[in-house]
């Protein structure tokens, strides 16, 4: 049976039909922003500015407690530094999976090499004799992240940057299944969800699956133009509004972060 969600009249007025990209000029280019309930998949290339975009996308944080930024590559201090630099709100929920993984798994591996090289000391042996169970190191981050997003209320805003972490450690089909669930949840709760995934090493079939689940598909690319780099965002799918499909060239400024170029470059 489908769950019935009721939305407050006030909320409907406050949040409106669309939410901002975090980049006002993108909003302007695409009829005011992202329709509420949309799941966006961003296929990214290294150096294309997608990490910054993911942060900028959460920065509007209409309700900070209902905004979640999940990073798999960066640590808390790094994220705080970027948010501070651009004056984005610091009171949103941030989960740094990469950092957690490093502290859990990599630290353990480091300790294992120490034991193997230097052997056990008396205190290690005493601790070993008193340890009855293996630490749960193979934490299921995918389920955790899914649950965390599913726990957000109506009109939430969330970003997963990036899905690569899960695709490398989990069965990709399971990852796709979770994304399907998240898409349904986002639609039902009128949330906004951005999922970035690197195109390098992504299998065509998974890419195809992700693209078909997504309501909006973005591709972040970078290319050299003369002696310069040109970063761009291509909107290749926009559910029910194909007129919005376009390519936006942008650059990064210290004041506004990602800023679309309004003047077309002549190569």
């Amino acid at each position: 049976m489908k769950k019935k969600i009721t939305f407050d009249k006030e909320d409907e007025e406050f949040f409106g039909q669309v939410g901002s990209f975090g980049v006002p000029k993108f909003d302007g280019e695409m009829n005011g922003g992202i329709p509420r309930g949309f799941t966006m998949v961003a296929f990214t290339e290294t150096g294309s500015g997608a990490e910054l975009f993911a942060k900028q996308y959460v920065s509007p944080a209409e309700e900070s407690e209902n905004t979640l930024y999940i990073s798999t590559n960066e640590g808390q201090p790094e994220i705080v530094r970027v948010f501070k630099k651009y004056g984005w709100p610091l009171d949103i929920n941030v989960r740094t999976i990469g950092e957690e993984y490093n502290s859990n798994v990599l630290e353990r591996e480091l300790l294992a090499s120490r034991y193997r090289l230097e052997g056990f000391r008396l205190e290690d042996i005493q601790r070993l004799a008193q340890t009855r169970f293996v630490d749960e190191n193979n934490q299921d981050y995918l389920t955790e992240v899914t649950n965390e997003i599913m726990a957000l209320g109506p009109y939430f805003r969330a970003a997963i940057d990036s899905l690569d972490f899960f695709l490398q450690r989990d069965d990709p089909n399971r990852v796709v299944a979770m994304i399907r669930m998240l898409q349904a949840h986002t639609q039902m709760y009128r949330g906004l969800l951005l999922i970035s995934v690197s195109v390098n090493g992504l299998s065509p079939s998974i890419r195809q699956e992700l693209a078909s689940i997504a309501d909006m598909v973005l591709t972040f690319g970078v290319r050299t133009v003369g002696s310069d780099f040109e970063t761009s965002m291509i909107v290749s799918k926009f559910r029910n509004a194909p007129e919005n499909l376009k390519m936006l060239v942008f650059r990064v400024t210290p004041e506004e972060g990602i800023t679309p170029e309004t003047v077309e470059r002549i190569a």
């Binding site: 300790l111 294992a112 090499s113 193997r116 008396l122 070993l128 004799a129 293996v134």
Partner: protein, 237 residues
């Protein structure tokens, strides 16, 4: 066995499921602890929590033996995890790491009685027979040098005359002693038996002995000669 297991020996305790191998090994440790010896039990077949719960039934066991460090029970899963060995197959480096850690433990806390329960589950992770041989031989040699008497528990599927006393066929060649435990079926009933097949340095009985697992430990008596065959085909012969 007329005196017991010679110090520093490696004894293979082979047996079928439920034959009392773990109980025998635990008694070996508890008896050692009673005499003030430091003991270690590496368990891979059942969690240490369960094992400690089971040995409470012994009238001569005292939890103080664990609290004061005379009896040390190590979960192999935890050891594997600490050594980064939580994987399905061990290579040469892994095997050496395991030997080093076991001998480290024996050396550091001065263990004189050691049980590995079971060597079968451990050897399943070592794919090559040569590596299993190296592992057991090196481990046995190092433990003997440290004056540690070791019981290696081996799980076998059948304890008949023609069966091997170990799963890999390697363990039995390396051990100084072999104790086999199993069941004799007599008219639909299973009687537990224990038989010392070999024990270097001792003159021992090689007869089958019936055993009973009691709170006073494993009790044994020679099995009736006319009833020690698994089948009853010899009856009336």
């Amino acid at each position: 066995m007329r005196g017991g297991i010679p110090y520093g020996s490696t004894v293979l305790a082979s047996g079928t499921c439920g034959s009392g191998k773990t109980t025998l090994a635990m008694e070996f440790l508890v008896r050692g602890a009673l005499a003030g010896e430091a003991c270690a039990h590496f368990t891979a077949t059942e969690p240490s929590v369960k094992l400690l719960e089971n040995i409470r039934q012994y009238a001569f066991f005292d939890m103080n033996m664990v609290d004061t460090g005379l009896i040390n029970v190590f979960d192999m899963d935890v050891l594997y995890s600490w050594l980064g060995l939580d994987k399905s197959t061990f290579d040469l480096d892994d095997v050496h790491a395991l030997i080093k850690s076991i001998t480290d433990i024996v050396n550091t806390i001065g263990v004189t009685r050691l049980v590995i329960d079971s060597v079968t589950t451990l050897c399943y992770k070592i794919k090559s027979e040569q590596l299993i041989r190296d592992f057991l031989f090196t481990l046995g040699k190092k433990l003997a040098t440290l004056g540690c008497t070791t019981i290696l528990i081996s799980e076998i599927t059948s304890a008949t005359e023609n069966a091997h006393w170990s799963s890999f066929g390697v363990e039995e060649a390396i051990a100084d002693g072999i104790v086999v435990m199993g069941d004799v079926e007599r008219m639909g009933h299973l009687l537990r038996f224990l038989q010392v097949v070999k024990m270097r340095g001792t003159s021992h009985s090689r007869a089958k002995h019936a055993i009973e697992l009691t709170p006073l430990g494993v009790m044994l008596t020679p099995m009736l000669k006319w009833g020690s065959q698994t089948d009853s085909a010899n009856w009336g012969a």
